[in-house]
Point group: C3
């Protein structure tokens, strides 16, 4: 087993797809600077230019990586414009990406964070292109950070990063009106209703009534396996968002669900 | 070159797809426990919940990995139920997965094997979820095995693992009635007729007649390249199953082939 | 950080897809011979048997990998025929593949190169198959080269490698008639018009007129971001080929573009 200190992991989240040469170009640049870099793909199948999808995916994933990991997110429709390139750091994690909101959800999950602009041109590839900062700026900067450079050496502090204007659930006295945030490859539906939104209700999880599209059902379960095959049910996902699923079926296909669709959670009123 | 001993490879076979954060979560957990783990993806595009497809893919792949490799298969529709999590070990290979048949074809290919239940909760992530044992149980257990833990430390022995009820070829005096087992991304058709099924025939390979769908052809070839373009032919795949192919075409598309379709191999009767 | 010398990177470019076991088999064979090999996927989604697409993808990617990297390209419709397996080496890079043109574009970009036939059977897997030289020949040879073997030890020199018969732009006095070479996953169109084809024109980039399909527009830009959303424009890609794009849209879908389609670049004639 290796005794020497371990180099940080670099993760990649992009909308580059898996057919073109773009992802490999980033990896080549990183390995040219840091031959022992450990690179892990989060996904390269973010829908083109979909900043929210990338922000959500990275927010759900980064906590499972060890401290010290460097997360690179390149969803960059504004490449070559005046949008800043930034480095967000907190809780012993580092995030690199354009300042277009893609790092915002992660920053909100950190107990505290600092942001630095990436404008130390000495770190970039020679004559960086106007069209591919993933390869020419973010990849070499990630490699230098993995070699031990500190975030402060990338550029000056940034006071405020770009946020995302996401739909927030409306929390009433007896109900939460949320929306569909994400549909995964199993067809499971993730909503923007978080476990913490239910905290003040003090209601047994089995007493909730859930409405989505044309269907209504009762109760929030703990597992997939306690359900009958083909029955639609709700549970809290491993990221603590309310998830709607059907055992061994795509509930999204069954319901014709789509991102942005309304989901309503009501407390059942006893004696009424 | 590294002088120190090499850590085992961990392979991953799942139905998680490549768009979501699930695969990366497993890798983050593994690397958090074992920073030098060498992780290789077999595939994450198993059809959702398709245990047979995963079992077949892993059986075809594991022999090409060196001894000591740890193979993790997470196709787990019964997650959270009473299905066991198991470790199968034999021929200096280790396999981890749910006890739902996904490891059965591999176990049958080993010269002998032992099975242990995975119930050493000290190895799991803190408060494992009910819905994602890939990340919370199989990933950390694989990392601990790669660090040197023995299979016996995972839990007690298991007498009998779940088998798969696969269609078996019917071997007659002059014919073998088989079925289509798999169609690969080139459109080549793999059948469940194994080279060993022909052993007692003592017939020249060029003397067989093969029927599938509306077509009939003669002979089992040795290579793709000895065929004319566009001609359908049979050969034994590198896994020793009878394969039907058309050079530089998808024979499955040409024939409208599907999994489970009948394939018949007959000895040609000379002087008849 | 590791102090010992770094093993070369091995990259893989294939048409094997990501669903089957083929890619993992190559990796297993490589890691069985060279446990510390660093393997990077370029892509496995080359269209089946599309030698030109693979040649173009590898030519665009290899310059971003460090010197010493070993690039393996397995698009091999002629596997098992008399086509040679070759090793091309130059500019401190190594390329392995069948001699069917897949390595030709890379060889033309090297300042000079040598070619060796791969016929040292001692390096191959035991009893190599007739149908899968990627796993049985190219993978083990790449691993041996990464361990330090020299290209000359693979086999005798090859005088001339297979070229590709690609459409070349027609360069007139006032115009260049090119074609669409590639469409990437964003829908950007790459043409076969190279920056060097414009060298003798001595015209301001803003003075060119570009025709493709039903549309005509003026000027070659430097960045995506200087464009208005939805407007079609041209720029030179990071590989120095003329690219046609629409900001945050798929221009290929908008225009119904296809590979081989005509693209004409004209000098605008001032004063009439």
């Amino acid at each position: 087993m290796n005794e020497h200190p371990t180099t940080p992991i670099i993760t990649l989240t992009t909308d580059f797809g898996l057919k073109d040469s773009y992802v490999a170009s980033l990896k080549g640049v990183i390995l040219g600077i840091h031959p022992h870099a450990r690179i892990v793909d989060i996904t390269h199948l973010i829908s083109p230019h979909n900043i929210v999808e990338a922000a959500f995916t990275l927010m759900c994933t980064y906590p499972y990586f060890p401290e010290g990991t460097i997360h690179v997110a390149v969803i960059d429709p504004g490449v070559g414009s005046h949008r800043k390139a930034i480095c967000v750091t907190g809780d012993n994690r580092i995030f690199l990406g354009p300042d277009n909101g893609v790092l915002w959800l992660c920053s909100q999950r950190l107990s505290n964070f600092s942001t630095y602009q990436i404008d130390n041109h000495a770190l970039f590839t020679a004559s960086p292109s106007y069209t591919f900062h993933g390869r020419d700026i973010f990849a070499p900067v990630a490699a230098h950070l993995a070699l031990g450079m500190r975030a402060q050496e990338l550029g000056g502090p940034v006071a405020r990063i770009q946020s995302l204007n996401l739909p927030q659930p409306i929390v009433n006295n007896d109900a939460i009106e949320g929306t569909v945030l994400h549909i995964d490859s199993f067809g499971n539906i993730l909503t923007n209703i978080h476990r913490s939104h239910l905290a003040h209700f003090d209601t047994d999880q089995r007493q909730y009534i859930i409405h989505i599209g044309q269907i209504t059902f009762t109760g929030i379960s703990q597992t997939y396996a306690e359900q009958r095959m083909g029955e639609t049910f709700a549970l809290f996902s491993s990221s603590d968002f309310l998830e709607i699923a059907t055992r061994e079926r795509s509930v999204a296909a069954l319901l014709g669900a789509h991102i942005g669709q309304a989901v309503v959670l009501k407390r059942s009123i006893r004696n009424g």
